[in-house]
């Protein structure tokens, strides 16, 4: 006998325990959604359309692909105004959790609101909790006991103020280094360098740009 069908036929409801089992199976387990693996099928402006990865099985074990769940939000990795921005893409596999109450109004501002309806633990009130994958990303920030690794085809550090690198050794391993205002690689009279400790007994050695782009020479003053 299929375990799923044991004691759940209406005719077997002969005692209180069976009734409770029937009620739990029929109403609680069938209606309370918890978490599900999903696939992103469309990226909207501020939300995502997803499809549940586990098929439904009919009574004859015929599988049916669940219909999409539209416009669900994702959890952000942030605190205050600081955070890590990632952009989910179509076909990404994600883990979606389902809220207890209708969040359709609450999620517009993430502020105190009445529930949009009386529904509970509904698939429509899903939030993407994270990404599911058996592969490591090729572009990443990797934080381990050995250190922090930043990897990507292009790495841009933006700062409105100072950017300070504090280290025992700094190695720049590159075939070409561009320095200059606006990242243009142009050194001119407004560019200021201060090189510390390059001369025995010296403190700070100012470096002056003495020439234009093509014949740039850094002269010791």
């Amino acid at each position: 006998m299929n375990n799923n069908q044991s004691n759940l036929q209406f005719g077997n409801l002969q005692n209180e325990a069976n009734q409770i089992e029937y009620a739990i199976a029929q109403y609680l387990l069938n209606n309370v959604n918890t978490i599900q693996p999903c696939k992103i099928i469309k990226v909207n402006e501020k939300s995502y359309d997803v499809e549940i990865l586990t098929n439904y099985l009919m009574a004859d074990n015929k599988p049916i692909t669940p219909l999409p769940i539209y416009e669900i939000s994702k959890i952000m990795v942030m605190g205050g105004i600081a955070g890590i921005i990632t952009e989910l893409e179509e076909n990404d596999k994600v883990l979606v959790g389902f809220c207890q109450r209708d969040i359709s109004i609450v999620k517009k501002q993430w502020d105190n609101q009445n529930p949009g309806s009386l529904r509970m633990f509904d698939l429509r009130d899903g939030i993407i909790l994270g990404v599911l994958s058996n592969k490591l990303p090729s572009i990443y920030v990797k934080i381990t006991n050995k250190g922090i690794e930043l990897n990507g085809p292009k790495v841009t550090i933006i700062s409105d103020n100072d950017t300070i690198v504090k280290a025992k050794n700094v190695t720049v391993d590159a075939s070409k280094i561009n320095l200059g205002n606006g990242g243009s690689g142009v050194l001119n009279g407004d560019t200021k360098f201060q090189v510390t400790g390059v001369q025995k007994g010296g403190d700070t050695l100012p470096v002056t740009i003495v020439s234009g782009i093509s014949n740039t020479v850094i002269a010791q003053s």
Binding site: L67, I69, Y70, D122
Partner: protein, 311 residues
């Protein structure tokens, strides 16, 4: 409407799902899958008894039992169905019960019940030798057993009325009757399961109740009638038998059978009981006890006050 001293008609229509009746053909000579059995309060008629129950909430299905004396053995054999056969075939035979005092152009009084037959068998041992044939029916078996592949998932805002209409459209052959659904909408509605499960869930989500009744699918806010604009007065001058009996959240009222009293109908009660007089009541349960030869041709109504409760 005066109901006493008038001829009472009960007409039972059987519609076979696949089989045909041995006797009788249509105009083209084709065998018929429909059998109409007419009974009235005249003494030369077949004896028919029908007991119809229409209970509140969708989960509790309406049901009916019909007993007909004097049917032919051929018809009995065609219609007989044991409970253990249920589910063997996809389809179900249908019984329609018509009852009232006036006949339409087809010779039928108004419809009182329509449902699927889950058991039907005769009693050949009956003492009066009339081989009473008992037919038991539940309403909406086919909807309960429907494949749950009509799932709904719509992107964007959908008016509640349109959502309920879309779910109701899965109940083939039923006409949608919605009360007070206007002005509300649902965001990205998504409903799964059988049509019954979908309607249950949608109603629970938005504070509505529903009832599939004969040929209609009724939806209204919880604790409100399905037919708010048709008010029928019940009094001792207008079909009430005895006095209303108090039951939880309402009254039970006995009336002579009248086809105009529908499930979800608003009624006004006039009696010596002031509590019953003051309420705004709607029919939230109805039992018809119909016989063409005995003195029983009546209904027991459960009326609830629709000012009670709320969201």
């Amino acid at each position: 409407m005066q109901t006493e001293l008038r001829t009472r008609h009960i007409v039972i229509k059987f519609i076979l799902d696949e089989n045909t009746f041995a006797a009788g053909t249509d105009k083209e000579g084709n065998p018929l899958n429909v059998k109409i059995i007419r009974g009235n309060s005249d003494s030369n008629s077949l004896t028919i008894e029908a007991n119809i129950n229409k209970t509140s909430t969708s989960f509790m299905q309406s049901s009916a039992t019909v007993i007909i004396d004097g049917m032919t053995v051929d018809d009995i054999n065609t219609l007989s169905l044991m409970q253990f056969q249920v589910g063997v075939n996809e389809g179900y035979n249908i019984v329609e019960i018509y009852a009232g005092y006036d006949l339409n152009s087809d010779g039928l009084p108004p419809l009182a019940y329509r449902g699927q037959i889950y058991a039907a068998y005769p009693d050949y041992n009956n003492a009066n030798r009339s081989r009473p044939f008992k037919v038991m029916s539940l309403y909406g078996i086919t909807y309960q057993n429907a494949d749950d592949n009509g799932h709904i998932s719509v992107k964007g805002e959908v008016k509640l009325e349109d959502l309920f209409k879309q779910i109701a459209s899965q109940f083939k052959g039923l006409q949608f009757v919605g009360n007070n659904l206007f002005g509300y909408s649902s965001t990205n509605p998504r409903y799964e399961g059988t049509p019954v499960q979908q309607m249950d869930k949608a109603c629970a989500d938005y504070g509505y109740h529903w009832k599939a009744d004969d040929t209609s699918i009724l939806v209204a806010p919880k604790y409100q009638p399905f037919y708010p604009n048709e008010i029928i007065e019940i009094s001792s001058d207008n079909n009430m038998i005895g006095y209303p009996t108090a039951v939880p959240y309402g009254f039970q009222v006995m009336v002579r059978y009248t086809p105009y009293l529908k499930f979800g109908q608003v009624v006004k009660i006039k009696s010596l009981m002031p509590f019953a007089n003051n309420g705004a009541w709607y029919i939230n349960g109805i039992q018809h006890i119909l016989t063409n030869h005995s003195n029983q041709f009546m209904s027991i109504l459960q009326v609830n006050n629709y000012l009670f409760g709320g969201m």
